[in-house]
């Protein structure tokens, strides 16, 4: 469930005894902590216009209900990127009783950067020092007591993916929350010149007794202004009395820039990193690390081009095979079972109770809609989600992104889009939900459009059944070639035409880690739930609507309306237009529907054995091509709408219809003009 973030967060923290904000860098095991602590009920909240989500869930300790706000994983709190902004805003809005920060013991220096930011903001803090076992293997020994003393906050050792230390973490967090004990760090100060400037500004703020937007310590505000934080400068600008302070901050910033030859923001970031490094020097001793573990060694193979590219091709082929063949067979099996046993029984029961009339006949189409959801949902969506979560959790997704980035870049995407696009050849639905790994809306729209243009296994079945079977493999291949060319052209064009630029890739790379099964299971479940709640109602609703149009005969009027396009422009029989409309529900039905409708419209039973009765080879070619390009199926539309919004989803649909009609017509004209076929 998606809620408006600000009110959702404050409501959430009011409904619990204590609220813990869970913070940390990406890939430090934060999601393992969150998933181990919480049960199945997770709410997500979105800030308007932002793609990064905040998760909320509760856990019990004794008889206390403890709310956990899972902030997005970020390297810092700030206003420079969406994830950093959302993380900070969620802390400010949620006003947690305590912040628990998960810190990666193998890279303490970088992780301490955000710890220092939290200390500056004055939040009560607990640190979960994670993967201490790995750090030890690498030869790093961290003095926990000394670290705790320096930072003035409790430090709890954890191994999150085995659930170790998490109880202690919650106990320590609740204790801090109860006592509202502020951190008492030991000499955490920056260089003397910077400190004196911070102090000048702090005093200026304190002296004026100004209202501040979030009740932050004066020093924190001074630092934010010195760091040229766009958000806070904007917020305070409109508040009474801040103008002189802002002017003073601007003056101090240029003073820093002049003295240090770098911008005030860079200087303060450098000071913070230097301080983090000093603390690490104080608390960590290092000896020669042990030899590389399996994770690191195999990981290196996957990033070195010479070995990585073959591995990538193998993995992508495996995904393709799993989705295309295994998924398809499983779907057929389920479909047959449904058609043989469940559907007739359900329909008979329904008619027995409510009688057989237009309304009930339309309603029973819902049973077919449910079948569509089932045969897409389990074999394709679930299988892909498990694969995706596994690749994310082990870190292989990053290797894929690294190797494919330059190719994807040509389409305005980056490497993380490669896996969903390949998965699209199995089924577009999970592929589109997979685009969540992309960070900007621009990338998601481009990726969504391109995935929709990848013929899924259902559409491939039509290409095989209509073209390869009747006209041979060469024309079938030609359809793929045409789609391939279209795909590249559309990708290049979107990259040119869409406003904005593709973002440069900056992605942390880390050696493979042992996946955490619970995290994979829960990730898969959340995504699957999103599919169920969004796609199933639309599939069922769409089926009933289509059923109604069919039973009342309005569908045939619609066919007449479309005749100029279908027959006049694309040279297909009118029945093809009907089949195309009905196939929106499920593309693999495009052939069966064609046969059924042709019989209804009087073509005779012979159609069953030979489609040539109603269409020649060139018509079958055009029919399959149009089927492959026009509107993705109802389930795809549903998830597109969920991921990109209805407006964007409808634009993509309209675009594919225009493209399909255009291509179908052009090829028809070409056939007519040249006399091919």
């Amino acid at each position: 469930m998606s809620l408006s973030c600000h009110s959702a967060l404050s409501k959430f923290s009011q409904s619990t005894d204590f609220t813990i904000a869970l913070a940390g860098n990406p890939n430090v095991g934060k999601s393992s902590v969150f998933n181990s602590l919480t049960g199945m009920g997770v709410d997500t909240a979105n800030y308007p216009g932002k793609t990064v989500e905040v998760n909320m869930a509760t856990t019990k300790m004794d008889d206390l209900t403890i709310g956990i706000i899972d902030l997005p994983g970020t390297y810092a709190l700030g206003a420079v990127s969406e994830d950093q902004w959302v993380a900070r805003q969620a802390v400010l809005d949620g006003s947690p009783d305590v912040v628990a920060m998960v810190v990666d013991a193998t890279n303490l220096t970088r992780n301490l950067y955000m710890v220092l930011q939290f200390l500056e903001l004055g939040y009560p803090l607990v640190i979960a020092l994670n993967v201490l076992d790995v750090a030890r293997r690498e030869g790093r020994h961290i003095d926990l007591a000394r670290l705790s003393e320096r930072l003035g906050v409790p430090v709890i050792p954890t191994v999150a993916n085995r659930g170790e230390g998490l109880d202690e973490l919650v106990i320590a967090a609740v204790e801090i929350a109860r006592s509202q004990q502020k951190p008492q760090p030991q000499d955490l100060t920056y260089g003397r010149d910077i400190e004196s400037l911070i102090e000048q500004l702090t005093t200026a703020i304190a002296d004026r007794n100004l209202d501040d937007p979030y009740n932050l310590p004066h020093r924190a505000l001074a630092l934010l202004l010195l760091e040229d934080d766009a958000e806070f400068i904007q917020l305070t600008q409109v508040m009474p009395g801040w103008q002189p302070v802002l002017e003073m901050a601007a003056g101090l910033r240029s003073q820093i820039a002049e003295e240090h030859g770098q911008s005030a923001h860079t200087r303060i970031a450098a000071e913070r990193h230097a301080l983090a490094a000093l603390i690490v020097d104080d608390v960590e001793t290092r000896e020669e690390g042990a030899e590389l573990g399996w994770g690191e060694r195999f990981w290196r193979w996957t990033t070195a081009p010479l070995t990585g590219v073959p591995i990538l091709i193998a993995v992508l082929s495996l995904i393709f095979i799993l989705m295309f063949f295994a998924g398809n067979n499983l779907a057929d099996l389920m479909s047959n079972f449904w058609g043989d046993y469940i559907s007739p029984t359900a329909k008979d029961a329904f008619y027995a109770v409510f009688g057989e009339n237009t309304v009930t006949l339309s309603l029973t189409w819902a049973i077919d809609g449910f079948e569509a959801a089932l045969t897409v949902g389990i074999p394709f969506v679930l299988v892909f989600y498990v694969l995706l979560a596994f690749m994310e959790d082990t870190g292989y997704l990053n290797s894929v992104a690294f190797l494919t980035d330059s190719l994807m870049h040509k389409f305005g995407l980056h490497g993380r889009a490669a896996i969903p696009i390949v998965a699209g050849a199995g089924c577009n639905v999970p592929a589109i939900i997979g685009t969540r790994v992309l960070t900007t809306m621009r990338e998601r729209v481009i990726a969504g459009t391109l995935i929709v243009l990848v013929p899924c296994s259902a559409r491939s079945a039509v290409i095989f059944g209509a073209v390869a079977f009747y006209a041979g493999w060469k024309p079938a291949l030609a359809i793929y070639a045409i789609i391939g060319v279209l795909w590249v052209v559309v990708g290049l064009a979107l990259n040119k035409l869409m406003p904005g630029e593709s973002t440069g890739l900056v992605m942390e790379m880390f050696p493979f880690r042992r996946p955490h099964l619970k995290t994979i299971a829960k990730k898969t479940w959340y995504r699957f739930k999103a599919f169920v709640f969004m796609a199933v109602p639309i599939l069922i609703g769409g089926s009933i609507l289509l059923g109604f149009l069919f039973q009342t005969g309005y569908l045939f009027d619609l066919a007449n309306l479309l005749e100029p396009v279908v027959t006049g422009w694309m040279g297909l029989p009118a029945v093809a237009g009907l089949a195309l409309i009905m196939a929106i529900l499920r593309k693999e039905l495009a052939l069966q529907l064609l046969v059924t409708l042709a019989i209804v419209m009087g073509a005779g039973e012979a159609v069953k054995d030979n489609l040539h009765v109603i269409m020649n080879d060139s018509q079958l070619f055009i029919y399959a091509l149009v089927t492959a390009i026009y509107i993705p199926c109802a389930a795809t539309i549903a998830v597109l709408a969920r991921e990109l919004g209805w407006r964007r989803s409808l634009s993509i649909m309209a675009f594919t219809v225009v493209l399909a009609v255009l291509m179908g017509g052009l090829i028809n004209q070409l056939f007519q003009a040249t006399g091919w076929y």
Partner: protein
């Protein structure tokens, strides 16, 4: 007589002296992938030929004659690289090895003609200055874009282009800051991203991001 082996040592010492004020024999052994006694033998030979001196306090130092010989080699190497990319159309990331082989078999006359044909370029395809051209020694110590570095090269971040403040600030929060040492571990095919090691972590940086990070030799 300067053999190919001697030339390679001279080149290595030259490059190491740019990265570090004091060149240590043990590091030289690591770089050449040989044992310390082998390096000791070679250093003795270099000293006998008046090409280099070594002492405990000063480390390994090239003499004037040694420096000239090294610069000639580096000049030839980089001229070949230019030739291979500009004339033969090879990719800049595949010319280094070729140039390593070609640089040793070359007379001053050929070197002169090569420079002429190429229009006396002042830097190699990777952006390194060609010795013997204006300000080459000064430029050798200057910053160049991270995207021009090759796999295995190391440097120190000099600055990040300021025209994109958000990128600058984002990189700063990761520790990609001036004076941070940085090493290229891998480059993805087709001008893909670079895998760099910086501040205890590894990042994949797209080429356009890498081109905004200026790096100088260590």
């Amino acid at each position: 007589m300067i053999t190919q082996a001697v030339e390679e040592y001279l080149e290595a010492i030259y490059k190491m002296s740019l990265e570090d004020d004091r060149v240590i024999a043990a590091r030289l052994a690591e770089r050449m992938n040989v044992s310390p006694p082998t390096v000791a033998d070679m250093l003795k030979r270099l000293a006998e030929n008046g090409l280099a001196s070594s002492s405990r306090t000063e480390g390994v130092k090239l003499t004037k004659k040694g420096l000239e010989a090294a610069e000639t080699l580096v000049r030839r190497h980089r001229l070949w690289e230019r030739f291979l990319t500009d004339v033969l159309g090879l990719n800049w990331d595949e010319v280094h090895e070729e140039a390593c082989r070609l640089e040793h078999a070359m007379s001053p006359q050929v070197e002169e003609r090569l420079a002429e044909i190429l229009g006396h370029p002042d830097s190699c395809p990777h952006g390194h200055p060609i010795p013997g051209t204006r300000g080459a020694r000064r430029r050798e110590k200057e910053a160049r874009p991270l995207s021009k570095l090759c796999v295995g090269e190391e440097g120190v971040i000099e600055r990040v282009a300021e025209e994109e403040p958000k990128l600058l600030q984002y990189l700063a929060s990761l520790g990609l800051l001036p004076n941070a040492p940085i090493r290229i571990k891998e480059i993805a095919p087709f001008k893909g991203p670079m895998l760099v090691q910086v501040a205890g972590a590894q990042y994949a940086l797209g080429q356009e991001v890498a081109s905004k990070i200026m790096v100088r030799s260590k």
